[in-house]
């Protein structure tokens, strides 16, 4: 079942078309990486899903219910973490969670229990200072606690890691990975390594529409090339290997760079085994033999010109 469905979403600010017929579906219980360049329309999409912005046309459904602009009922299913969450600086973390809990209509008992639990989860258990003195990372973590307070079915995070240092970033990713299974997570980012670390689904947004989407393994399979990288001890060795006649076919591309050789085989019948056999025939022990997986970075640059 899809927890979030977006159909033919159009949106523009003035003459600038931000969303151009965006279609997207987020399956339940996934960690969904929403990737795109800065200004690709990620934040705009999220704000429309939350009813904070009005789309020019198109529809959004959350848990099967249609999102309307303004005070939308669908928000009760959603926890939202803005890119830079802003809190009341004069409140303490518990007071803020209490305020949020009262707004969503949780009982006093539930608020106390959930607050304890969540503050422990995000590592703010013993912090009783006013939020005004919090660091970026602490605010981001309180933001997650706040977003998870009413046990939402869908957690939407807008660039949760981009403003943080490496440690803060790891903490956030660990928290998101920890809630996987209980809550569907959609998070936007332009940092691909974050996606690789925790996401199982990915969608790439470019010029207001999706240019790539699916599970990470599907995508990698789809874009996998029969491509290998071999590093030799000497450049001459590499040259000798490249020159042998078994490899002189139009279906095989060779690229030599110093003592490294990249071999791309377009023909499905030929695979890495052929190369290994060839190496042993020629009595060459390479320093490294690697089947090249398409990295997200390569994919990203390929689909987003």
């Amino acid at each position: 079942m899809n927890i979030l469905e977006i159909r033919q979403l159009h949106m523009s600010f003035g003459s600038n078309k931000v969303l151009n017929g965006l279609d997207m579906a987020v399956p339940e219980h996934s960690i969904f990486g929403f990737v795109g360049k800065n200004g690709a329309g990620k934040t705009t999409t999220m704000k429309i899903v939350l009813g904070l912005l009005k789309a020019a046309s198109g529809s959004v459904t959350v848990c099967g219910e249609k999102v309307v602009y303004g005070d939308t009922k669908t928000n009760r299913h959603i926890g939202f973490l803005p890119d830079v969450p802003e809190f009341y600086g004069y409140m303490r973390p518990k007071e803020y969670l209490k305020l949020c809990g009262e707004i969503t209509g949780l009982s006093a008992q539930a608020i106390r229990n959930r607050s304890e639990e969540l503050l422990a989860l995000v590592g703010l258990k013993d912090v009783n200072r006013r939020i005004g003195g919090f660091s970026r990372g602490m605010k981001q973590r309180l933001g997650i606690a706040q977003a998870l307070l009413n046990e939402p079915r869908l957690l939407i995070c807008d660039e949760p890691t981009s403003a943080l240092d490496p440690i803060g970033r790891k903490q956030i990713l660990d928290i998101l990975a920890a809630i996987k299974g209980k809550t569907t997570v959609v998070f936007s980012t332009h940092i691909l390594s974050d996606v690789e670390r925790i996401c199982d689904h990915i969608a790439v947004l470019d010029q207001g529409r999706l240019v790539l989407s699916g599970t990470i393994s599907e995508i990698q399979k789809q874009y996998r090339r029969n491509s290998y990288s071999i590093r030799f001890a000497h450049p001459e060795q590499a040259a000798r290997f490249a020159a042998c006649e078994q490899l002189s076919s139009s279906a095989i591309k060779l690229e030599q760079e110093g003592n490294a050789l990249t071999i791309t085989i377009e023909e499905q019948a030929v695979d890495g085994q052929v190369l290994i056999d060839l190496l042993s025939q020629m009595q060459i022990t390479p320093e490294k033999f690697e089947a090249m997986e398409p990295t997200l970075e390569n994919l990203f640059t390929e689909v987003v010109q």
């Binding site: 600086g89 004069y90 006013r130 005004g132 003195g133």
Partner: protein
């Protein structure tokens, strides 16, 4: 002193209220280091030497945004 004897019912509460305002502003100046403009020394001077107006100016215009 004559005046004080006659008007203490006014002057004592007045001084207490003004002092309360000043102390509140002064502790805030000393506890926080970011001001919308001006420096700590400037705000201490203003708060202490300008009764009522000084603390008011600090709280309304000078206080840093967070808290």
């Amino acid at each position: 002193m004559e005046v004080l004897k006659e008007y203490w019912v006014f002057i004592v509460p007045l001084i207490i209220a003004e002092l309360a305002l000043m102390v509140a502003a002064l502790t805030h100046v000393l506890r926080h280091s970011n001001y919308r403009f001006g420096s700590r020394a400037l705000w201490i001077f203003i708060v202490v030497f300008f009764q009522i107006i000084g603390p008011l100016a600090y709280f309304i215009f000078g206080r840093g945004v967070d808290e």
